[in-house]
Symmetry: C2
Subunit: 277 residues, 2 copies
Amino acid sequence: MATGRTHRPATRSRGIPEATVARLPLYLRALTALSERSVPTVSSEELAAAAGVNSAKLRKDFSYLGSYGTRGVGYDVEYLVYQISRELGLTQDWPVVIVGIGNLGAALANYGGFSARGFRVAALIDADPAMAGKPVAGMPVQHTDDLEKIIEENGVSIGVIATPAGAAQQVSERLIAAGVTSILNFAPTVLSVPDGVDVRKVDLSIELQILAFHEQRKAGEEAAAGASVPGGEGVAEVPGAGSGAAPAAAVEPPAGRAAAVARKNGPEGDVPAVMPA
Amino acid sequence: MATGRTHRPATRSRGIPEATVARLPLYLRALTALSERSVPTVSSEELAAAAGVNSAKLRKDFSYLGSYGTRGVGYDVEYLVYQISRELGLTQDWPVVIVGIGNLGAALANYGGFSARGFRVAALIDADPAMAGKPVAGMPVQHTDDLEKIIEENGVSIGVIATPAGAAQQVSERLIAAGVTSILNFAPTVLSVPDGVDVRKVDLSIELQILAFHEQRKAGEEAAAGASVPGGEGVAEVPGAGSGAAPAAAVEPPAGRAAAVARKNGPEGDVPAVMPA
DNA sequence: ATGTCTTTGTGAACGCGTGCACAAAGATTG
DNA sequence: CAATCTTTGTGCACGCGTTCACAAAGACAT
Ligand SMILES: NC(=O)c1ccc[n+]([C@@H]2O[C@H](COP(=O)([O-])OP(=O)(O)OC[C@H]3O[C@@H](n4cnc5c(N)ncnc54)[C@H](O)[C@@H]3O)[C@@H](O)[C@H]2O)c1
Ligand SMILES: NC(=O)c1ccc[n+]([C@@H]2O[C@H](COP(=O)([O-])OP(=O)(O)OC[C@H]3O[C@@H](n4cnc5c(N)ncnc54)[C@H](O)[C@@H]3O)[C@@H](O)[C@H]2O)c1
């Protein structure tokens, strides 16, 4: 998932809902696959299944684009591929720069699916002088000093940041100052950008943490259902104990901070242990 | 945006809203930074700014966890770090396997932030016999044949898929059959999984396409603004080629886009064309 | 033509998420 | 102890997104 433009001022948003926009690429992918198999038409039901969404949702999504279907038949695959591509702006060429050619940046540069849909890696940029000129994915890495020049000369409006978190904000500022108005950020930092600039983030760590949350919940329910007693849980040390703030154990379960939670919410789910930084 | 679990049966409504869960890692990151700077407390306003969200939203999010703040003062940093970590399940160790050690998989394996928060790469798995035994990130790559054994022996419940799209579904099935119940999928495919299994996807291509959509819209508005004075807010002008620093355009039918969208069926310039897949 | 059958397009209801605005809680000062 | 100041916690309203359900549109058969 990616966030970014949280701010939608509804500026004459006579447009396609954001949620719909986010699904269009999904539909496009499914349609492209059908197209390659020379399937002429698809029903909303079939396509929805392929894209993993509800068919009513899909129909409503398409309704924002116009009435491209034929009742009793379905949608013309080729036609829809074209319409969605056009709506997403994929009928034009989008030069992209990748900044930060480390493990991830190099992988991205080597990624084939990149150029498959109108996106073209225009340049690879890194701050490490030792990398300058070194070829990655058949393209010489360029030094950050030339960032502005590269952006302007290639008319780049989309930038990908794959630098360490500490450098991300500064890199984004340089990119924006040079003309970039859309950023895909892989660094685990919140980028602060001016209005008019779109930022989407890809954060592995966040995704894993969300999965962990659900995983823990699943384990908890399972345990509760099984009525089994998991091994000793030994309450570990509580960081920053003192501070006087927050009422400590008042009633309820085992002492410690866990009680605070139980106070408001349900009892179960107390699994204190070591805590990483 | 998990593909599988779209359905939320609200099983036992004792739950934190999904949107809140997705923000907790963000708060945690900001709090960890504060903690490292030995800041004792933060106000919702400060923390919200650091996390890039609305302060009211942050307070409401925290209210789902319980009442951990002190009015007139703010939140105790250390205490909150602990509570959020516990809620997210980061107080326990999560062994993770990465399947598909190619460009991306190797980058992920080398990623430090991985193990920083309770996640531990338990194994690297690849189908290529030539890779078996080869060390990546100081860990020998193991063959897919041993996938089930690895999962079971290490008690892995979270799997990361970084194989080509064509292999993703099959890999997910093997992972699930072996006991994995959470999957982070980097392959551009919709995974079909049974109930109870969570899937989250990271899709570079989709993110770029969403950015392209907004980028195109920005270019269009810009062009419209520069043209004749827009009297009515009704229909947007057609973003003609040229104008602005827009990238080189590819092929595109002449007829108005807005017209086709607004109208039921635009017979005019809507000639199906072959699009770059 | 007429009737039947399939599938779209969408009105309407509903639930979730967001953000405002403010009372209450507690710190702090006199 | 009372007054004042700060900041939380949340009631409430609003808008977006999702889903159901169905009339209407068109294909197709008779
Ligand atoms: N590797 C992964 O799988 C992964 C996963 C999720 C997130 N991330 C994030 O992506 C970013 C990159 O990760 P990585 O593993 O490739 O790190 P890395 O250290 O391998 O690469 C970082 C690169 O950025 C360059 N760099 C540093 N400062 C720069 C600057 N100011 N301008 C331009 N280039 C600069 C460095 O020279 C280096 O080549 C990090 O923020 C990391 O947290 C990585
Ligand atoms: N590289 C990127 O930056 C990037 C970005 C976005 C998405 N992706 C996606 O991530 C996936 C991996 O990308 P990549 O660039 O690393 O590809 P890659 O070809 O470099 O690596 C794929 C690896 O998967 C292994 N593999 C193939 N089938 C397997 C199977 N059945 N079981 C286990 N391993 C198997 C291959 O041996 C290979 O090592 C692809 O689906 C790609 O579309 C990659």
